[in-house]
């Protein structure tokens, strides 16, 4: 029977199927971090159970870790406890870990792919909603709760109810300066934060096929912001080229066998999706959010909307609340919004390609007076690669801060936070109230917009820099 990519991967992982029960699916890779794992390990300990497959499990420290003075003990006692607990649990249960200071440390969703652990057709889970990132490789990857983390540790399986499937097709060519981040923000604005609920989204179409792996990861990463459980892109030569030679990728004959299997992983021509959404790449321009959920976004060329313009009452009320929290007035051009902080990083946009793109914009320019720019590589490897290319120097010469790897200001669990009322342009994925610090105001942007905004001091795209230079 004709099947979608998601259905094929699902079927290949069914360990047990019984009428009236969820399917029991095998988990190929389980990523673990310090925030959602402690109770899961404690649960194992209370029940006297081992980790079934430590060799399919890997831990990193990311959510809490400082991005300055990483050789010193973590100052915040809660953060320190979580990190130390993870280390103890990994030692006790035999789970490999990349702790702070290790060359493979970093945000869990950056580390998996860069090690070559995330491969097409796999099932990947992690106690973190942005596990959807790994779907960029044609893996079925989704976030799970702490009890499920315990279940996977104990059994390497998960009982799951079926997802529905959605196709998001983006055809055509993206204009220069338009990035994967703009695509996904446009998708979310189109289908809403709940529009993907219960679905696995497959992103397809010529605009998606033309994207690099980094860009595909950015898109799949934010599937969750559209409410979807997971996002996927069918693997192709771009995928294989990214994987070949990575530390955990298959080698030699195994590589050939793997690629043969991976080429089968695509949605059959006559397969149907439960829902289809189509966007024209040519319509997408740099996108920014103005509100407090990721669907409250508009092209940078637009103005802050008037809540009265929303027909739907709950959307209107949400907009009113958002504008009040964000301290914005209807009709203000988005380009007039001044920021205090620019954050370049996160599992959405903290990979080498993102840093390169931002550095290109900022090279030879400076961060505007009164603006603080934080550049936080997604992993130690990304940081080292950037340093090898001299990107750190570009950022530092422009007046930006060059930090160590971690989640950082994406969620402000470490000291990297916005002060109350402070406004940021952030390449991360959530603009919820207080996400980057209590009272902080977040505008989600692409790395290009982040860099241009840092230079201008107001929300801006690289195109604005010429004009800005003209004025200066």
């Amino acid at each position: 029977m004709a099947a979608t990519l998601a259905e094929k991967v699902w079927e290949a992982h069914v360990v047990r199927r019984a009428a009236g029960e969820p399917d029991l699916l095998y988990v190929d890779l389980h990523l673990v971090h310090e925030v959602t794992s402690p109770q899961a390990f404690d649960g194992l300990r209370l029940a006297g159970r081992p980790v079934r497959r430590p060799d399919l499990t890997i831990a990193t420290e990311d959510h809490n870790v400082p991005t300055l003075d990483i050789e010193r003990p973590i100052a915040d006692p809660v953060s320190r406890t979580q990190v130390e607990t993870l280390r103890r649990n990994c030692a006790e249960f035999g789970v490999p870990i990349h702790p702070l200071g290790d060359a493979e440390q970093g945000i869990v969703h950056v580390v998996g792919p860069q090690l070559g652990l995330t491969q097409p057709g796999m099932t990947v889970v992690c106690g973190d909603s942005h596990t959807s990132t790994h779907g960029a490789f044609g893996a079925l990857a989704f976030g799970i709760g702490t009890s499920e983390v315990e279940h996977v540790l104990a059994t390497q399986t998960l009982p799951l109810d079926r997802f529905r499937t959605m196709a998001v097709t983006v055809d055509g060519e993206l204009a220069p300066g338009v990035t994967a981040k703009d695509v996904i923000l446009a998708v979310i604005a189109e289908i809403g934060t709940g529009g993907g609920q219960g679905y696995v989204i497959e992103y397809r179409g010529s605009a998606i096929e033309a994207l690099s792996m980094e860009a595909r990861m950015t898109i799949c990463n934010m599937s969750i912001e559209a409410g979807a459980r997971a996002g996927m892109v069918a693997p192709d030569d771009t995928t294989f080229a990214y994987l070949e030679g990575r530390p955990r990728a298959p080698k030699g004959e195994d590589w050939d066998a793997a690629v043969r299997a991976w080429r089968e992983l695509r949605t059959d021509d006559d397969a149907t999706f439960d829902r289809e959404v189509v966007l024209d790449a040519a319509d997408i321009t740099p996108y920014v959010t103005w509100g407090t959920n990721p669907a409250q976004g508009l092209p940078l060329s637009a103005s802050v909307p008037d809540p009265a313009s929303f027909d739907d009452q709950s959307a209107r009320q949400a907009a009113e609340r958002a504008l009040e929290y964000m301290g914005l007035r209807p009709g203000t051009p988005l380009r007039d919004i001044a920021v205090d902080t620019v954050f370049l990083g996160s599992c959405t946009n903290g990979r080498i390609e993102d840093l390169r793109a931002a550095a290109e914009v900022i090279r030879g320019r400076s961060v505007a007076d009164g603006v603080r720019m934080l550049v936080v590589p997604g992993s130690v490897r990304v940081r080292l690669a950037a340093e090898a290319e001299g990107l750190d120097v570009v950022f530092k010469e422009a007046g930006a801060e060059w930090r160590h790897a971690g989640c950082s200001m994406c969620l402000g669990m470490n000291p990297d936070q916005l002060a109350p009322g402070e406004r940021s342009a952030s390449t991360s994925n959530r603009n919820f109230e207080g996400r980057q610090g209590k009272g902080g105001r977040t505008h989600l942007v692409s790395p290009l917009v982040a860099a241009a905004t840092a230079v201008v001091g107001r929300l801006a795209s690289p195109d604005d820099l010429e004009r800005h230079a003209g004025k200066a």
């Binding site: 360990v15 047990r16 029991l24 095998y26 190929d28 890779l29 402690p38 109770q39 404690d42 649960g43 209370l46 029940a47 159970r49 079934r52 430590p54 060799d55 399919l56 499990t57 890997i58 809660v78 406890t81 979580q82 607990t85 490999p96 070559g116 652990l117 491969q119 796999m122 709760g145 702490t146 009890s147 315990e150 279940h151 104990a154 059994t155 390497q156 399986t157 009982p159 955990r248 990728a249 298959p250 195994d254 590589w255 066998a257 793997a258 299997a261």
Partner: protein
């Protein structure tokens, strides 16, 4: 998990509807690294009010929480279930539960008994009139009993069976350990490992 068949104990009447998981346990209490000890966060915002029902001496030791409609809405945090359990509650009675909360409760060994709203009201009145009222929740007969009253409650068959057998999700899966091992034998050799 311990099997549960009947729970008998005193009850607390929480006359509020739409109690969301942020109210059950605010985010600041989620930082613990163990599976127990979450009772200090239970209804933390309300506990600062000395008149809050849980603060009254007669509520000490109660095992049954009788709450208004739409209990457990909001974030999916399992800590909400743990906080209720750690405080000593073994069953929550309400006329409507949020789905995710109800799922989490079943997994955590906390019984969620759905009864009609008029029965909730009668139970509230009975408990408030005499806080020493013993309430019995019987999974076998799916009934809630107090004084002279008996009302039936809803719980899905699967959750009820699991609670009565004392099986957690991991136990259930481990019953199929052979299927898991057979699957592992079929996995391609080239699939990656982390060691």
């Amino acid at each position: 998990m311990e099997p549960v068949t009947t729970i008998t104990g005193r009850a607390v009447a929480l006359r509020r509807s739409n109690v969301d998981t942020d109210q059950i346990i605010p985010a600041v209490y989620l930082k613990r690294v163990t599976r127990s000890g979450f009772e200090d966060g239970l209804f933390a915002a309300w506990r600062s009010d000395p008149d809050f029902v849980l603060n009254r001496p007669e509520s000490a030791g109660a095992t049954v929480l009788v709450a208004g409609a739409d209990f457990g809405t909001g974030s999916s945090r399992e800590h909400a279930v743990w906080a209720l359990r750690d405080h000593g509650f073994r069953v929550v009675i309400s006329s409507r539960f949020a789905d995710i909360f109800r799922g989490n409760a079943g997994k955590g060994g906390l019984v969620t008994a759905r009864v009609e709203q008029p029965d909730v009201e009668r139970l509230w009145s009975a408990v408030e009139a005499d806080p020493s009222t013993e309430v019995t929740v019987d999974l076998a007969s799916r009934t809630v009993r107090w004084g002279e009253s008996t009302v039936s409650f809803d719980i899905d068959d699967y959750t009820r069976w699991r609670l009565m057998e004392g099986l957690d999700d991991v136990d259930l899966t481990l019953r199929h350990a052979d299927s898991v091992a057979a699957y592992e034998d079929r996995r391609p050799r080239w699939m990656p490992t982390t060691v």
